[in-house]
Symmetry: C2
Subunit: 355 residues, 2 copies
């Protein structure tokens, strides 16, 4: 089978971790005769913006549309305000391609310990389904009375029934496939009194079609605390765009680090390319030093293979990462090791061959 991939290494440590990700693709081709990837790399990043005044060409989305998959490194540099780099690249891709599911596994890999004392050896393995196209990240709003004491900014959160139902339906169908049989929805309907009660209503409606799944609705503040006190009880968590964003960074932290967590921006209908990326940012402070951890990027390729229908390869990638972590001989500074990004990637790819 043949898959076309658009690779956008981006800024900061993006190119370094992407280099390892591309080697993962090579390794997959090597191990699995039937799979072939053709990869085009795009230099759309903050440097590109400084040169051209935009993050990608005007027909950037048209160009990307023809690929099966987009692989992203990380976007963001001190030279360009975040809300520009993000709003002109990542968010348009998520929206134009109806990547309305942002799938983020929170899994304590074998070989790592959780920073949570009593959970160090517990089985932490749940998944956050984050809404990825609307909600709190809407560009509707603006300012009034600029530069006066009466200035104000309004930001509209927009929740549609269409957008909300589809993410909640997806989360339930995922819960139906897993063994935990539990869905936890994040809300804040006690404080945010239009959008979140609407969200809760839809959760309750959809829950009726899944009587065998235990449904709980938690306020985001309590749920954040829950991630610390009883995360082992969670199975599928479904959250709005903003709440999912917060919960998954928190989730990454409780399973040992932001350098590790991957994210799949998924168009379940496969009408458009899906995009896979690390959760971490471009980390300009450590860029170019070959000390970034490439696990998140490599793991994101596991999510990609799952999406393309190759669960066995997806599992191979994760278990190879785990073997290297258990082995402890090679690792990057964030995990207490002394190896480079390249060496860490190499160790994982060697492990993939062994298995």
């Amino acid at each position: 089978q043949h898959f076309s991939i658009a690779a956008i290494p981006g800024d900061g440590i993006g190119p370094e971790v992407m280099a390892e990700g591309l080697k993962t693709l090579k390794k997959i081709e090597e191990l699995h005769g039937g799979i072939h990837f053709s990869i085009d790399t795009f230099d759309w990043n903050c440097e590109y913006y400084v040169k051209h005044g935009k993050m990608m060409p005007d027909n950037g989305l048209e160009i990307l549309r023809d690929y099966d998959v987009i692989l992203l490194g990380a976007i963001g540099a001190p030279t360009v305000p975040d809300h520009i780099s993000v709003w002109e690249l990542i968010l348009p891709i998520r929206r134009a391609f109806q990547q309305y599911i942002n799938l983020r596994p929170i899994k304590l890999l074998r070989g790592l310990e959780s920073p949570l004392r009593y959970k160090a050896h517990k089985d932490l393995d749940f998944i956050v389904v984050r809404e990825n196209t609307e909600g709190e990240y809407s560009n509707m709003g603006g300012r009034l009375h600029e530069n006066t004491p009466f200035e104000l900014a309004v930001q509209n959160n927009v929740f549609t029934r269409y957008g909300t139902e589809r993410v909640i339906n997806y989360a339930y169908s995922l819960a139906e496939k897993r063994t935990g049989r539990r869905l936890t929805a994040a809300t804040k309907s006690n404080g945010i009194n239009h959008s979140m009660p609407f969200w809760d209503e839809i959760v309750k409606e959809v829950s009726k079609q899944h009587p065998n799944i235990q449904t709980d609705i938690y306020h985001i503040d309590a749920l954040a605390a829950y991630f610390i006190t009883r995360p082992e009880e969670l199975d599928v968590v479904v959250a709005s765009n903003l709440f999912g964003d917060i919960l998954t960074d928190l989730g990454a932290a409780i399973v040992g680090g932001l350098g590790l967590a991957p994210s799949g921006n998924i168009n379940p209908e496969k009408n458009y390319p899906s995009m896979f990326e690390p959760i971490h940012g471009s980390a300009p402070d450590i860029a170019g030093k070959q000390i970034a951890n490439p696990i998140a990027q490599i793991w994101s390729i596991s999510l990609m293979m799952e999406h393309l229908g190759f669960s066995d390869i997806a599992d191979l990638i994760v278990s190879s990462i785990e073997e290297v972590l258990i082995d402890r001989k090679v690792s990057t500074p964030d995990l207490g090791g002394k190896n480079s990004t390249r060496e860490f990637g190499e160790a994982i790819h060697q492990q993939m061959t062994k298995k």
Copy 2:
């Protein structure tokens, strides 16, 4: 000195923890001849709502206005939707009395261990200043196309310069009084592109007046992770209404429990009463069993004494709580003990006499 106090025990465990809080007030009078409290108790809660169709009388706010301080237990019961009980009692009080600061200490009390492995014995002691009157908790918004597939809900986040400047100014003036000399502001200006860039601008403007305070602006997702990875570095954290809500529950979790954390809703100008309450909710599942931990309520009285200008008494309360925790002879089930709410309160009050 004489202070008038309006006590609203509320729902669930509210009355049980309030009973202990009122004993703390008695103990203060006993120890400090010059202080006298006159206390009126109001039965405004969900039961009241079920009877009267409202959470408080129409002139409830007028009644409260004449008190020096409001003490709240906890509000919320299964009989009344949260967004009603909260929007008709807590939020109107916070707004009508310009309690624009919600002050929430995140402090690992002596005698307790953090659930964070490497922080168990670190000095975790920072404070979150939460905006308490506007932002994401606005009742502006509504629905369109109800009960059709095209239904949508819009919620407006409203950030005024007035409201933002005053909370950020307050946070800096607090930072100036502390030794950490560091202020960390929560944002999400990369995803939320009208209100949060506005917030960031004001942080940067105000920061210029405080060149000796190190200012950092973190996206809320990264900051939530930071609470897990390096909380000992934090000193003053300033956040919008929603972000402060999330961060403080998370903060309570990393210092050992939601049953412990207090919250002061403060009108710094003292034009109106300020309100002190536990962060925890009404916990209907454990109500009436005398197993709730009264620390948060008692600690909230420490915040109240600080606000009224009695730092020595404020400190006495916290150190008495710590002595009982170090002693470990008396504690409630949430801390692994077998004692009742009443016995735990009593132990703290005895300790206050000893000191």
